[in-house]
């Protein structure tokens, strides 16, 4: 070690006393759970915020298209509402993530960068395909309604499912599968209904996810 701190040997000698096995087991479990909690950016309140964000973002778009006959797509005001909520959501996740992973370095940092780049490319591909559909004469109802609302969520769900499977995170995997099913099912609601169905569906699933996180957190604290 190259740190230049003064060693407090008196305090260290005092700490050298052994532990009762029961106390050791309790300390081990408490430390492991606290470390896992502090190093993980996900939390019930973050999921709760995501539920509210989904409802407000998709709700804003739905309000802007619900009276359109024929369907033209989200208005500028509706899109501004959507992007504002998405920007706030990204900012809260980045803040929580940076806080949780402060001081962590190594392999997982480069893995996260590769995952982020992959997701970015996949989302760009969704919008390139949207441009191609519009260019090939697909209707506004398909391009700016059913397709974009569904494809974006399916890409996000697939990405999170793969990430969760690699980390053996069964709750995250369940959430991702639910998001993909909501996206696919919402496509049947048509160009206007897809936004409302996505918003309400995501909100319900994320509320359930937040409740499950809270329950697990309380259970682990009680066990410890």
């Amino acid at each position: 070690m190259n740190e230049t701190f003064d060693s407090d040997t008196t305090e260290t000698d005092k700490d050298e006393r052994g532990l009762d096995p029961r106390d050791a087991a309790r300390l081990l479990v408490q430390t492991q759970r606290r470390a896992q909690r502090e190093l993980d950016f996900r939390s019930p309140w973050l999921s709760l915020l995501a539920a509210a964000a989904a409802l407000v973002a998709f709700g804003a778009v739905w309000l802007s298209v619900r009276a359109q006959h024929p369907y033209k797509g989200p208005t500028v005001v509706g899109l501004l509402g959507l992007y504002a909520v998405v920007a706030i959501r990204i900012a809260t996740v980045v803040y929580a993530h940076r806080r949780a992973t402060a001081g962590v370095s190594g392999r997982s940092v480069s893995q996260r960068r590769a995952e982020g780049a992959t997701l970015g490319v996949a989302l760009v591909a969704v919008y390139v395909l949207m441009g191609a559909l519009a260019n090939n004469g697909a209707s506004d109802a398909v391009v700016y309604g059913v397709y974009v609302g569904t494809a974006t969520l399916i890409v996000l769900g697939t990405f999170w499912a793969a990430r969760s499977a690699l980390r053996e995170d069964s709750m995250g995997l369940g959430l991702s599968i639910a998001i993909m099913l909501i996206a696919a099912g919402s496509a049947f609601a048509g160009p206007r209904g897809v936004w409302l169905s996505d918003g309400v569906g995501l909100c319900v699933v994320l509320l359930g996810y937040s409740a499950a996180q809270t329950w697990l957190l309380r259970a682990s604290r009680t066990d410890a």
């Binding site: 070690m1 740190e3 060693s7 050791a24 300390l27 430390t31 001081g103 962590v104 190594g106 997982s108």
Partner: protein, 99 residues
């Protein structure tokens, strides 16, 4: 089986906390000295003494990057350290089942 069967290097509150905290990181990751100190709540001097003992036993590795005030030391559990914690946990479980 008695308490003596437990690895004496780990069977100390501070070092048990250090090893358990570092084991929560994914394999191949390291934690900065200051973050580890924040998470465990030991004084810098106390922490560094325990880290040295664990490093001497090849339970963890440390790496210093940068110079002067901007320097940063990171610590990571080695495979040997992870195996030692697994063995410690198993021994502890056997001991508690026998009590």
């Amino acid at each position: 089986m008695t308490v003596d069967a437990l690895d004496p290097l780990i069977h100390v509150p501070a070092r048990l906390q250090i090893v358990a905290t570092l084991a929560a990181l994914p394999d191949g990751d390291a934690l900065s000295f200051t973050r580890l100190q924040d998470m465990i709540g030991l004084t810098p001097g106390n922490l560094i003494t325990h880290l040295r003992k664990l490093e001497d036993a090849d339970y963890l590795t440390s790496e210093k990057t940068g110079n002067g005030p901007a320097s940063r030391t990171s610590v990571a559990l080695t495979n040997h350290g992870r195996a030692a914690l697994d063995t410690y946990t198993e021994t502890l479980r056997s001991l508690l089942n026998g009590l």
